[in-house]
Amino acid sequence: MRPLRLLRTAALLLALAPPREASRHCGLLEYWNPDNQCCGSCLQRFGPPPSPDLEFSENCGLNDFGDHVTPPFKECPPGQCNPDSAELCSPCGGGATAPTPAGRRGGTRLRCREKPVPTKELCRPSVLSSQEPSSPATSSLPGTSERNVPQQALPSFALPLVLVLLLTSTVMLLLALRRHCRRRGQGKAGLHTYPASACGDPNTQGLTSLESSSPGSLEASEAGHSWKEVSLLPLLGREFPSLASQPLSRLLDELEVLEELIVLLDPEPGPGGAIACGTTRHLAARYGLPAAWSTFAYSLRPSRSPLRALIEMVVAREPSASLGQLGTHLAQLGRADALRVLSKLG
């Protein structure tokens, strides 16, 4: 009988033990913030449930390590609904409202700093139904971002309007690129058309039109073939040998040169800006930084230059980085103009 009693006790203890998913520190409508060691409000983090048939899930789907395990919202139990965007559902058509669960399993824990509740986002009907991943606007949650842009249902003319805008942007980009390359060089290039993505895409076939450039010549790069890296790399080694021996950190001290490089390499806004010729974004990729870092760096504008942030990051990570490396990257990006500016330090 003894083993049977032990077995029964073990089963009882297991039944009483809290489920692994639930927070050990906070109540059901809170989540544990492991960095600040406090319980945060689900409502303040995610905003109210965006749909009348949703309520907060336990600890808004977060575990005590801060991971998103399950969605922060779940459907109301049968017979209940949430028309007032409360934290929990209540019986539909009135009736007693279920008391908000209180109490914590792990004792009294510090509450995190109070924050304003994010505005309620409109729930899209598709969030609860089978949905193709490519369909737009299926999320009902602002996510972890504190900046939420509510979206309304798209009007019927939106798609044609978007197409027209896209077409206009493409045409403007082509014209701008043509003007840019013609201004950089005449005669030798003989360019009349080139693909819009020629500068940003190393796999473009547009390079086949650039046959009149002579390798190793700066004039050739000025003629618009600046994305041909073979025309600039020998030049870099021959005419700017002193750059290789100088540390990259020197650029941070030479403010005039840095400012000129910022003007040349940072700009992106405007139609087709993201695929413009070798910007700081491309340079960051050359240095092994992820696209998300570039997006973050560009979001700091105008208060902070992405190029300056990039140089500081590279110098911090690799103190031995040299101006020569930067010159090589600029040559590979086909930025002869930036190379000329950099050569002032040579």
């Binding site: 995190c112 490519s134 009902s140």
Partner: protein, 98 residues
Amino acid sequence: MAPRGRILVSPMGAHLMLCQPHLTCGDKFYDPLQHCCYDDAVVPLGRTQKCGNCTFRVCFEQCCFWSLRPLESFVVKVKGQSCFLALSPDDRLCRSVG
């Protein structure tokens, strides 16, 4: 009486002080080149968390709830984008693990 000649001297030990960017996170300051602010906490730039069965970098990405049916899922988007935007090539669809 003629005024005495002035002797200009440089201050000893002078050095250039550059303004560094610092932002606030809750009630703390942080250097955006080293850290970011995530849920009122200063965390290093390389910090990651789970988003369903995916991992996302909290300083550059965000974990958005995507759908409940047919499967509970999340999507990892670049920070700053609205979670309501349609999926783009930069986004990652992740399954709930709960």
